[in-house]
Structure formats: structure tokens, C-alpha cells
């Protein structure tokens, strides 16, 4: 078997692992800077110009700390779960077209949207396991909260992710991204808004911050982690943010496609992708700063009694519009 160097490059460097890693670090910095500026503070500003090396500094600092496994913890799961969760999300990201084609090119098939949602489910379950495997009441509560919240937002998230599929007429992400002559955010704005809300729940940001509410459960599922494993847990959380934003970009904002001015279209596609992703990150951070944290029973009410019916309605509305109105007008 011939080793396809181009394939290896695409998977490992761009738009694969290294690109995702740097994008994650950059988005972490951007989130912190935007949050700080909205709160009238400066944010990271010392490490590197304007503090841009801060996420890397934090990662390296955590790697240099002592790595302890508690005596009563389930060692294998405790050690593997964060790593696996991180890998699964990176794998899911490799399905998303970044410069016109996904990292694992020619692998986009009808139904890869469903596969991605399933991978996200598995990653969240692994996070729950990592909290459950630490022998600590705070971790247990945090892990239970992750699962409880997850049960609430998973179905609405799925339904809302299917909405663009109906508009595009296909379940393949690349096809959805390519068929947006008009970004779907304009055709189904209600779905976009609800998707952002469900995304807040998936990314565990305010108002759905409850799984790692410091003032109540110390660290939630991260309580017993330290050193390199904690670095990976944090990285997993940051990659989830990037992944969620990338999904929004692909499904609602027209993917990487945008005006090409000169030269290589792949360059322009990547640029548009990154710009749109950063815009979504700014929007989610804004929503985070706007709200307080809801209690778990309030989160359940919000998910089951508000978000789920609204997402069903939105799906129905979009399907109705897509079948009868849009072919006439658009």
C-alpha cells in the first residue's frame, strides 16, 4: 500500500490535527479576551503580544504539574476517558469541509451528519465517565449533572441540526454546506437562534454552566484531575467550542464558501471558514456573559418544556416552508 503523503498532510497538519489545535488555542484566547473586554477588563495581555500565547502557556504549565490518580478511582477509565473524548471530537471535526473538502476527503457520505452527532454523544458520555471514575462526591455530582443536562438538550440539538438537512435535501454535511446559495440562517433564522441556545447547553456555558459550577461543586467532573490529564480535559472543552462553532458555520452560515477574489480558492475558503467560526465564537461568548447560571431543575424545565417543543415546531415550520413557499420565492 502506497502511503499517500498528501492524505497524511491533510489529516495531520491542515485542515487536520495541527490546524484544529492551533485554532482551538486561538479561540480560547479570543473567548477570554472578548469576555474580559465585555466585563471592562483587559484579559490576557502579558504572554506574547496581547497575551496570545496564554492558552499555550496554561497547557504547558499543566503538563509540568504532578499527575496523581486517586486511590479509589477506576484507573483505566480515569486515565483514558479525557484522551478518548478529545480524540473523538477531533475525529468528528475532520468530517467538516474546511477548504472546500473535508480533511478526510472523499469520505463525506450521505448520513455523516448523523455520524457526527453520534460522535458528540459518545464524547459527552466519556466526559461523564471521567467524572464517575473519580472517587469524589463532587465529581459524581458534576458527572451526573453533565448527563442530566445532556439528556435534555441532545434531542433538540439533533432536530435542529436536521433542519438544514431538510432545506438542502441531503444528510451529507458537505452537500449541506455546498447547497447554501443563500445561507440557511436567512431561510430559517428561528432554527439558528434555537441552535445557538442548544449549543450553549452542549458547550456547558452560561446559562447552562451547571456541570462545572465552581461555587457549588468545586470543579465538577474535573475535581480530581491534575497535571496532563487536566490539560486534556480543558483542551477537550475548548475543542468542543470550536467544533460547535464549526458545525454552526457548516449548517447555517454557508460553510467555507464565500467570494473568491484571486488566486487559490482553497485559501479563500479556509479564510471564510475561520472568520465565520470566530464570529460564532464571539456570539456564544456574548450570550455567556449575558446570563447567570440556571439550577439543574430549571435547566431540565428549560430543555424539556421549552427547547424541545420549540425545536419540533421549528422543524415543522421549516419543512413546510421548504416544501411549499421557498421553491416559489427563492
Amino acid at each position: 500500500m502506497v502511503l499517500d503523503l498528501w492524505f497524511v498532510f491533510r489529516v495531520l497538519v491542515f485542515p487536520g490535527f495541527t490546524f484544529i489545535l492551533f485554532l482551538t488555542m486561538f479561540c480560547d484566547w479570543l473567548e477570554r479576551k472578548i469576555e474580559a473586554r465585555m466585563q471592562n477588563r483587559v484579559g490576557p495581555n502579558f504572554t506574547g503580544p496581547a497575551g496570545i500565547l496564554q492558552p499555550i502557556a496554561d497547557f504547558i504549565k499543566l503538563l509540568t504539574k504532578e499527575d496523581i490518580v486517586p486511590r479509589g478511582a477506576k484507573k483505566t477509565i480515569f486515565k483514558l476517558a479525557p484522551l478518548l473524548a478529545f480524540s473523538i471530537i477531533v475525529f468528528a471535526m475532520s468530517f467538516l469541509p474546511v477548504d472546500g473538502a473535508a480533511a478526510i476527503s472523499n469520505s463525506s457520505f450521505t448520513g455523516d451528519l448523523i455520524v457526527i452527532m453520534a460522535l458528540v454523544t459518545i464524547a459527552n458520555f466519556l466526559l461523564f465517565l471521567s467524572g464517575w471514575a473519580s472517587a469524589n462526591p463532587y465529581s459524581t455530582i458534576g458527572a451526573t449533572r453533565v448527563l442530566t443536562q445532556f439528556l435534555g438538550y441532545d434531542i433538540p440539538l439533533f432536530l435542529l441540526a436536521l433542519t438544514p438537512a431538510f432545506l438542502a435535501g441531503s444528510l451529507s454535511i458537505s452537500a449541506i454546506a455546498a447547497s447554501q446559495y443563500l445561507p440557511f440562517v436567512l431561510l430559517a433564522p428561528w432554527a439558528f437562534v434555537l441552535f445557538i441556545v442548544a449549543l450553549q447547553a452542549e458547550l456547558e456555558k452560561d446559562p447552562f454552566d451547571i456541570p462545572h459550577a465552581e461555587s457549588e461543586v468545586v470543579g465538577g467532573l474535573e475535581t480530581e484531575y491534575c497535571g496532563g490529564k487536566l490539560a486534556f480535559l480543558h483542551l477537550t472543552r475548548d475543542v468542543q467550542v470550536v467544533f460547535g462553532a464549526a458545525l454552526v458555520v457548516e449548517l447555517f452560515l454557508g460553510g467555507p464558501y464565500g467570494p473568491v477574489f484571486f488566486g487559490l480558492p482553497e485559501f479563500w475558503y479556509s479564510l471564510w471558514f475561520v472568520l465565520k467560526l470566530l464570529a460564532v465564537v464571539v456570539i456564544t461568548e456574548y450570550v455567556t456573559c449575558l446570563f447567570a447560571r440556571l439550577r439543574i431543575d430549571q435547566v431540565l424545565t428549560a430543555n424539556w418544556k421549552v427547547l424541545l417543543p420549540l425545536s419540533v415546531l421549528s422543524l415543522a415550520l421549516t419543512v413546510a416552508l421548504a416544501t411549499w413557499i421557498y421553491p416559489l420565492v427563492v
Binding site: 473586554r37 465585555m38 456573559c289
Partner: protein, 120 residues
């Protein structure tokens, strides 16, 4: 709150980048003490009244003089108030953190001390 967040995004931050920017303190700030040996009459009232027992009377050139232990001091300035000759005054110097214990002691010497009380 919606507008406030957006307007603050483009506003100047409320925090200042200390220590790259100097911190301003008000006049009359109770910082590091400035001791004038020329005015001292060795009465020992400062040491007697100090609530933290941070002033130790030591022998210097045959006279009793106060030695200030700044690691015990609470900067209440009762010593300045008790002194009948106003030999202890305040300064605006507050950056006293140090890795040497000797920086945290004000020796009763006739050194010319600058107005901001910084260690010579």
C-alpha cells in the same frame, strides 16, 4: 445588560496594567514610615503604644531609638500620633514586598531618606 456588554467591548478597560503602569495613591496615604532621628527625644512612647509590638527600642550611639519591624507593623500610625516631636511621618511608598527580611526593618540611622521613603 445587552447594550452595556456591547458598549464595553469597545471601551477602555477599567483595570490598569500595574506594574507596567504606576499606581497612584491619595495624599495622606499611610505607607512606609519615615523616621527623623534629629527630632527624636528617645521617650519610647511609640514603642509603648504600638498595638502590634512592632517597634523595638534599641541602643544607638548611647541613646534609645526605635527600630521598626515592618513585617509586624499594621500601619495604623499610632506611633506618629503618640510621638511628641512628630519624628515619625508617613510616606506614599507601599511596594514593600521583598525576599529579604532586612528590607522590612527601618533602622534608626541618620540616613537622608528621600520623600517617598524608598530604601537607600
Amino acid at each position: 445588560m445587552i447594550k452595556e456588554l456591547l458598549s464595553n467591548l469597545f471601551a477602555k478597560p477599567a483595570t490598569s496594567k500595574y506594574p507596567f503602569v504606576k499606581a497612584e495613591v491619595a495624599e495622606g496615604f499611610r505607607g512606609k514610615q519615615v523616621y527623623d532621628i534629629g527630632l527624636c527625644i528617645s521617650c519610647g512612647l511609640c514603642s509603648r503604644d504600638c498595638p502590634a509590638k512592632a517597634i523595638e527600642m534599641v541602643e544607638v550611639d548611647g541613646k534609645r531609638r526605635p527600630l521598626f519591624h515592618l513585617d509586624l507593623c499594621v500601619f495604623c500610625y499610632q506611633c506618629a500620633e503618640s510621638c511628641p516631636r512628630n519624628a515619625i511621618k508617613s510616606s506614599e511608598f507601599f511596594e514593600l514586598a521583598s525576599i529579604n527580611k532586612s528590607d522590612l526593618v527601618i533602622q534608626p540611622q541618620a540616613t537622608s531618606q528621600k520623600g517617598d521613603g524608598a530604601q537607600q
